[in-house]
Subunit: 363 residues, 4 copies
């Protein structure tokens, strides 16, 4: 159940709910509700009658299984990564190489992607590779390269963490922890990052349903870490001409269900360099809060995923077009919602006979 | 092989190639190449040496299997439907109900979608329904409703044709013949519409690869009808929360391979009314030449597909936002291509040490 | 609704139901129920009270949407193709080349597959090919080859029909009409074969759900032709190492829902010659009523699908193993059902403490 | 490269190869080749000329990327779990509940599945559940229940391990470590179990290609643990009527590529109790080396996956039918291979005119 407490509720209210949950063995977790108060997710049906719960604002016994991630729980979240706000209206551009290749290269690419418009730097230090004989990433040296690049540019950095034992190490260096597609249902890893306060970028498993994706976010949030950003990065489909199929339907759909920001990765989501710019635009147009892009100074010679990697120059084009696209759409959003509430939409049959002129007036 | 003839070549050149093909039993078909000349697709290796072929411009023995549809064959095509140009730069908006419900309703919705920005009217007279016991469409009465609506509004009309025997009938009423997703590999039907000169809207099979899709276009073009517009309308994927998954990757990918216009259908491609507007924007941002949208005055009471159908008011919002989005992106297209030729992209390593300022100069 | 009439009901009962359906505009169709009586499927809620319906045995207002195909309607069907019974217990082996290549070849392969154990001959005269430039089948000459082969061997013949206009022609030659995977949702074609009395082999669309598959059978049966045999032939999945993925789950699942026989095609279902024998065994073990196999004297030089085609010798091995496998399983079926009714299964907890010895006694 | 050393080669040969690999930074790992000698997989091109390599039997510079798992490397493997041989000809039956529910229940079900024919006991102590609020398994208490059940019955036990830190703990209790479908590409976990000598049951990721599956086996083997058994457990497909689609094509296909045993899990592979028996038969007929089945005394009240769980009685039926089916097929295997080498198959055209009688003679 979801229990919302007003912003002026005494702390005893929250304490009473948590204690009652503990007593019954129900998992419970509180978080701000984005309107000054707090919401507590309790995994069980707590009998509230008879308890002194001053400031109780709302009780929702029925809700989605991903209660903490659900839009039923709170206002849309804004996740801060360093001083970059994700979900607050301005799009985030995470960019950098698939794999970190050296400290110098990482610093250089950091400067380039920053100049091209990126506000978060990416780069893999620990890499999930299909073959045990492929380059597995620079490891800790890669983490150090990220820190050097952050120092040189001021960009916060995001990098993948692959196992629970690595979480503390990676969190000591990175501003955001990436959970890769292959680990979306690695529950011990999700629980472990849920115990940190470092923001998490959770990539969708390439065969995960929307609900499974949100349940994985719930794993992190149930541990207390509510700083989760979702990332759609392509699903496995039947056409061998594409590495993955970017599944943008989930972007507006998740916006209806979940308060967390969601970004799109058109690099993995296409597997082809020449499709990245167009699908980046499509991702933003679908309502994503930003993009993650693989960028390398010399994509053809990148240590991994070069075929889907663009240059900094291409990134700058994507960045400028992306801002222009969003600005064009935002003009409208001030007046009316694109993801409109269908129930309140003026019905055509109320407009009367002369639909044409009526619509022209509205426009 | 593809054989291009200059615009001032004598007609004997074309005749000689066709005759030689006929003699060898090779299928051959000529079409304009968009630059004043002609291109002939010959399904076989014609030995050209020794023939008098004045005005021969280019011979391509190696090409994609969909030779007539291939971008190797000619400039990008513009397909005229009535006086509406598809593929020429302005987006097309095809809109109307899933099924035609009556003459009056169709005239009314035609007026409404026109007012909301549509330039082609849709509506199914012959409907492919999973159940033999469901409403199968009004048939010929539906065709008459389309004509009435066209007369009332001036909008050209598109409607589905489901079997070869129906083609002449439907073509007598409609400005464009729709081949449905379930019939994308109905080759006798494709051959039959290939024998008309009526423009064809070919919807992608929901489990067709990109290459199979283009081969189906080739079936139509091989018959002589080159007025083909492609339509991505969602593929079958694994998440039961969505009817189909709109597969926008194919839009920029097909633009790289094929000269035909391609539009996007976010109604069938999402199966959910509330996702249509956002995915319409995504389709345009991905590079589509237009949209097909299911629109009904009272979606909840539509005879088919109401759950994915929007109102005329919602269409007008989609239309205005779509134009704004395209205008925002077109500004850039004047200066540089979004689907850029990666080979000619200025490489980062040629920009030198100071990537930042270099990029700033470029921007 | 499904209305069952006893075998001694007066013909007036049946007539009254059909007349009442006609009056209300409900589609209605009668068929034997396999127990001597008849079942009438009515697509609508007929008010039966007040009608004189002597011999009325059962009324089922609630049933699956594929009412005629449903196991709720009747006993398991046996479909006769010539003198071969499909579904009656002995497995059917349909075998022959993908495409008919000449009269002589077809007669020769007919003799060989008969010797190898086949009891129905296949061969495509009209072929659905992805490319308009590929061999499209011998057409009517192919049909004549089938007749010659039938005369030489006595084997009934099955061949694909691709369009409504072809149905009469093909039915004049063939003992069974094959509807290909690409045409499973070609509803005009289904309706047209539903108007004949020739047995139909309906192949599952490679992206069709089980329910869509059964609804397509319903299209044929609703027209009056209840001689339908289903065929699972592989679905489209994500691994490019396989042409299709043979989806055997549907075999026992359809047996729970539907009274029609179902066979398995491991040639198209694997796309690889070396996998055919094993997957043929798997199909029979899953409960299929037989197999369809592509067989050619010289697979490497077959005009189509050679990579998935086996030799007659390999067919004879598959045939003998298949019979042995079924015999091994049939021994058990006499004693108890493999697809057992879970509700009547003796529960472990009724066996008491000493599960081991109890089970040993049962065994 | 794969380097095979004769069984009488001096140990210096092996040492020289390993040393040369180390020097060049190439990963190298030796394993028995099943014919008395050894094969060394070296991840790189070692220049062997000039080295003293007495007893060198074979050098394969070209091989599959999963070199240690490849059938190019060695004879078919037999993996011992306790005293149960997997892959040696007799099928293995792993059975037990999805989740261990208590010590008593686990002992009881162990006795029951043993009586019903199982030779390995399963049961999850650490469970991967989509929801953080679902039962996550008994943990260490579950491991103790497995030990108690092993003591009571003598059955070796298999249970899932979900994270690297858990491996030592689980290996201290279990005879075989299960890697779940969701963790097939959890490479740190694969590396960690590769460092033990405990046999591993590697379940295929539900959206993993055959090659990715074998590469994951390679991760384990590259670490030195060659006791790997593969398990096909269903892939994600498009029909919501099935939890997963059992993809049996991979069974004979993997047999062509890989020396490791492979079993089939028809419980997860169907997600429906009533389909398990038939698909178990299909799995064995496809060539699997055994089965994994979820079995519970009272499936309707199981703590997880009850809908796909069968009773011990049903297991005993599956077991007896499975043995009968294999015996029926084995009779033939003595005479000739079902997965036959197509290249050596007697060609039909060598049989001459009278195919019928020739085949009859062969038969
Ligand atoms: C491996 C990566 O992504 P994913 O987990 O989406 O495949 C990556 O971002 O480099
Ligand atoms: C049936 C339709 O579309 P599709 O063929 O794409 O399903 C339609 O446009 O109404
Ligand atoms: C084309 C054929 O099959 P399908 O329709 O299953 O592809 C065939 O049987 O040759
Ligand atoms: C969770 C299990 O299997 P899988 O990893 O195949 O889903 C299991 O065996 O209980
Ligand atoms: Mn990458
Ligand atoms: Mn529709
Ligand atoms: Mn074929
Ligand atoms: Mn389970």
């Amino acid at each position: 159940m979801l229990i919302t407490i007003a912003n002026d509720a005494p702390s005893s209210t929250r304490a009473a709910i948590l204690a009652a949950s503990l007593e019954r063995g129900f998992h419970a977790q509180a978080m701000p509700n984005g309107r000054g108060g707090e919401v507590i997710g309790v995994a069980g049906a707590l009998p509230l009658e008879g308890m002194d719960l001053t400031g109780l604002e709302r009780v929702q016994p029925v809700h989605k299984p991903f209660m903490m991630a659900s839009l039923e729980a709170r206002e849309r979240s804004v996740v801060m990564v360093g001083d970059v706000a994700i979900g607050g209206g301005s799009p985030v551009f995470m960019a950098g190489p698939c794999s970190i290749e050296s400290i110098d290269d990482q610093v250089e690419i950091a400067r380039a992607v920053k100049a091209a418009g990126a506000n978060i730097l990416r780069g893999g230090a620990f890499k999930p590779r299909s073959s045990p004989y492929s380059f597995q990433g620079l490891g800790q040296e890669g983490l150090e390269a990220l820190v050097a690049a952050r120092e040189a540019t001021g960009l916060p950095v995001v990098t993948e963490v692959m196992e629970p034992e690595q979480v503390d190490l990676v969190a000591a260096y990175a501003d955001m922890l990436q959970i890769g597609s292959r680990n979306m249902a690695n529950f011990p890893l999700l629980k472990r990052v849920g115990k940190t306060s470092t923001p998490v970028l959770l990539k969708r498993g390439f065969a995960a349903t929307q609900e499974e994706f949100l349940m994985s976010a719930e794993y992190i949030m149930a541990g207390g870490n509510t700083n989760v950003v979702l990332c759609e990065r392509g699903i496995r489909a039947f056409d061998a001409a594409f590495r993955f199929s970017l599944d943008l339907n989930v972007v507006p759909s998740i916006k209806e269900l979940c308060h967390l920001p969601i970004i799109v990765d058109p690099s993995h989501g296409t597997g082809r360099r020449s499709l990245v710019a167009r699908m980046a635009m499509a991702g933003l147009a679908a309502g994503a809060d930003g993009l993650m892009l693989e960028v390398h100074a010399d994509p053809d010679n990148a240590l991994s995923d070069g075929y889907q990697t663009v240059t900094p120059l291409e990134l700058s084009r994507i960045h400028r077009r992306g801002l222009a696209l969003l600005e064009a759409l935002t003009g409208f959003d001030n007046a009316e919602d694109v993801v409109c509430d269908m129930a309140t939409l003026t019905r055509f049959d109320t407009i009367g006979e002369d639909a044409g002129s009526a619509l022209e007036r509205i426009a």
